[in-house]
Symmetry: C2
Subunit: 389 residues, 2 copies
DNA sequence: ACCGGTTGCGAAAGCGTTCCCGGTACTTCT
DNA sequence: AGAAGTACCGGGAACGCTTTCGCAACCGGT
């Protein structure tokens, strides 16, 4: 017979429904509902997930309170030197690893900064990330990398992931399809600082790290002109990105400044997908009135064009001089070497994190965003040096 | 005069030390210690960190309990359809983002898998990571990427970071300097599954994803032999890595099988640092009795050698035929195109995550590790096709 | 001897979730 | 009509950590 778990009464027990698959009983005397305790599923087999040592374990071992352990582990004041040593010893003995989840919850900070990049197949972004880590890691922060794969939707998803992860700051570089930065507004609302780098938009009030794209483009195109190019094409990027607009403008101004005319048919737009680069190249080189010079918005596009030119038997640089942008390692490997505008990639990452930290430590409620503009350097290789000139 | 905060007594008050910089008082009547409440530092300026909506906010808005909200957000049973809709609406209205830290703490799982790679400058690892994300993300997991920068110490640090982050699983590829995997043992102890990929060691009992390195090397070297090479060199990797030992063995066996003799002076060891590749190449090509063929353990080493050869005026493939390993995109860009053994990079990532998930969902206490061996494909380009042959 | 000050530690309240369990109001059998 | 079952919901402990604040013990000067 069923006994009440409280009064051990037997007679006043009535069935009171099934709950979560188990019979429930009601004791009329105690006015108490209960289910029979599940017969102690004896297996410690359910203990597959081993217990990780916590500060409570350390505290128990030393017969002190967890507050003291916490203080000891953080070099807090208000702690006896011997106690601290003892705690540290036990921590090492137990191989204690602080639980960052709990830490983050308690402190409302995750010690993590999120980085959103459009891709990391080409070396540009990896180098930036490495630069960022070089500053972030020593400061005790680690880095959560999200790549948007040049997809706007993925970028949005990534912002949500970073939001849920409660990152303390964001470094972001946009996709070529990102029409606006509304999906980043939530970070502002939450007081999480953002620094945009490289691929930024103009319509946002935030800190930015960019290079002088206009100047770089201007230099690159001028170089082509000085090397005898008469018809200089430009593979431009999506015009939602300031970086692409600036490079385009630099291209245009360089031409005009040197008394050359603008020819819209020589400007072709690349959506930054790898296949698109090949299409642009095809299109450009198939044109009846082929260009004899090309300034591409980035190295991969320049290199893709060189490949296509090669297939078509177009000689580089004599028939087509090429200048890229970024100086990714590959640009030194292709044949002929690609003339390009070197970007200080690691420097970009470092600068961005420094700016982020500055903003994170800012106590004044109205932080004034800052834009750092780094310089590019023209690296001349063979792809732009016409022989007959 | 000072009043007791409890009884408002004035006379029985005595000073009782300074604590944390503030004067403390003692009321003899109440037997009570107190400090004066800090004059309400009126600034809401300290509220710079805005409040993020939580389930409690949703609950308050709807006048229900947070338990109900939690159930609603997770499509739990035991919830009225209308209630759920209401919760979802409010959640959307408030732009609620679940706090992954709190979730992780409560559930003892972080929905994160950690990936440790030795570097991500070359494209191999990025592609693997993309493959991994393609499986992990749809399953609700995100990926924490750590790069060890070919440093053993950094790799150890990375394991600690991932341990602290309480990742639910690990994908790891070792540095060329990692002597053993003791630093990964803590994951085993904690019951956190690991899958090693690509750069693995033999002395560990865990799931692995590798390619058939021996076979790939054998194929590559055989291809060189069939193309008329008589003195085939090998840039080998650190012998702590099984992958490097296998490729070396494949090289040796291919030579022996084809009646060629082994020449230790033609084997040179690369520590996987970028500069080291150039040294190896220099050394190899400066030798009095220069090789006429090269099988390099990876594409970057092969390409570095091609660069050095070019500088020295050594013609490829006629004077030196080259075969790499991996088929990174760059290998198609260099001149001549690099013959190489294609690895299914994204596939490696996907397979590894699948294996990891399998192990994570395994309930039996004794999980049997599994090793998946993927196939390589010889991609023939011009770097290995001697003309006079 | 007493008072004011110092040092070191413990108790407990959060942080935002999940989840177990108990409770209520209602429905459906007999 | 009353017993048995169903559908939902709320309370509250737990996760591992930080942090505030109270308190005891001790120290040194008058």
């Amino acid at each position: 017979m069923i006994k009440c778990v409280k009064c051990s009464e037997v007679d006043a027990i009535a069935k009171a429904g099934i709950i979560r698959g188990k019979q429930r009983y009601y004791c009329g005397r105690c006015d108490y509902y209960f289910t029979l305790p599940a017969a102690e599923v004896s297996l410690a087999a359910a203990t597959s997930k081993k217990h990780q040592p916590t500060i409570v374990d350390i505290a128990r071992e030393l017969q002190i309170s967890k507050s003291t352990v916490s203080r000891a582990l953080h070099g807090h004041s208000d702690i006896n030197e011997e106690t601290r040593k003892a705690v540290l010893d036990v921590a090492k003995k137990l191989d204690y690893q602080p639980n960052l989840l709990a830490y983050g919850l308690a402190k409302s900070k995750s010690l993590t900064i999120g980085i959103i990049v459009p891709e990391f197949i080409n070396s540009f972004f990896p180098y930036v990330i490495i630069g960022a880590q070089e500053i972030a890691n020593p400061a005790g922060y680690h880095v959560l990398i999200c790549q948007s794969n040049e997809s706007y939707q993925t970028e949005i998803d990534n912002t949500n992931v970073l939001m849920s992860s409660r990152v303390d700051g964001i470094l972001a570089s946009l996709t070529g399809k990102t029409p606006n930065v509304d999906h980043f507004k939530k970070f502002e609302r939450a007081g999480i600082p953002i620094v945009y780098f490289n691929r930024v938009t103009t319509d946002v009030c935030a800190s930015k790290v960019i290079v002088d794209d206009y100047d770089g483009a201007y230099q690159g195109v001028t170089h082509l002109i000085q090397n005898g190019c008469k018809r200089i094409a430009h593979i431009a990027g999506p015009q939602n990105l300031q970086i692409c607009r600036d490079r385009l403008q630099g291209y245009k101004d360089a031409l005009l400044r040197h008394g050359m005319e603008l020819n819209e048919s020589l400007i072709i737009y690349h959506d930054l997908n790898p296949e698109s680069a090949l299409h642009c190249a095809q299109h450009l080189l198939d044109a009846p009135d082929r260009p004899d010079g090309l300034f591409a918005l980035n190295d991969p596009a320049a290199i893709a064009t060189m490949q296509v030119a090669k297939e078509k038997g177009i000689r580089i640089p004599d028939e087509l001089a090429v200048v890229g942008f970024s100086n990714e390692p590959t640009s030194a490997l292709v044949e002929p070497g690609l003339t390009t505008l070197a970007q200080p990639m690691a420097e970009i990452g470092k600068t961005a994190v420094n700016l982020l930290f500055k903003q994170m430590n800012d106590t004044t409620d109205c932080f004034i965003p800052e834009t750092k503009v780094l310089k590019t350097t023209l690296i001349v290789r063979k792809s732009s040096l016409k022989r007959q000139f």
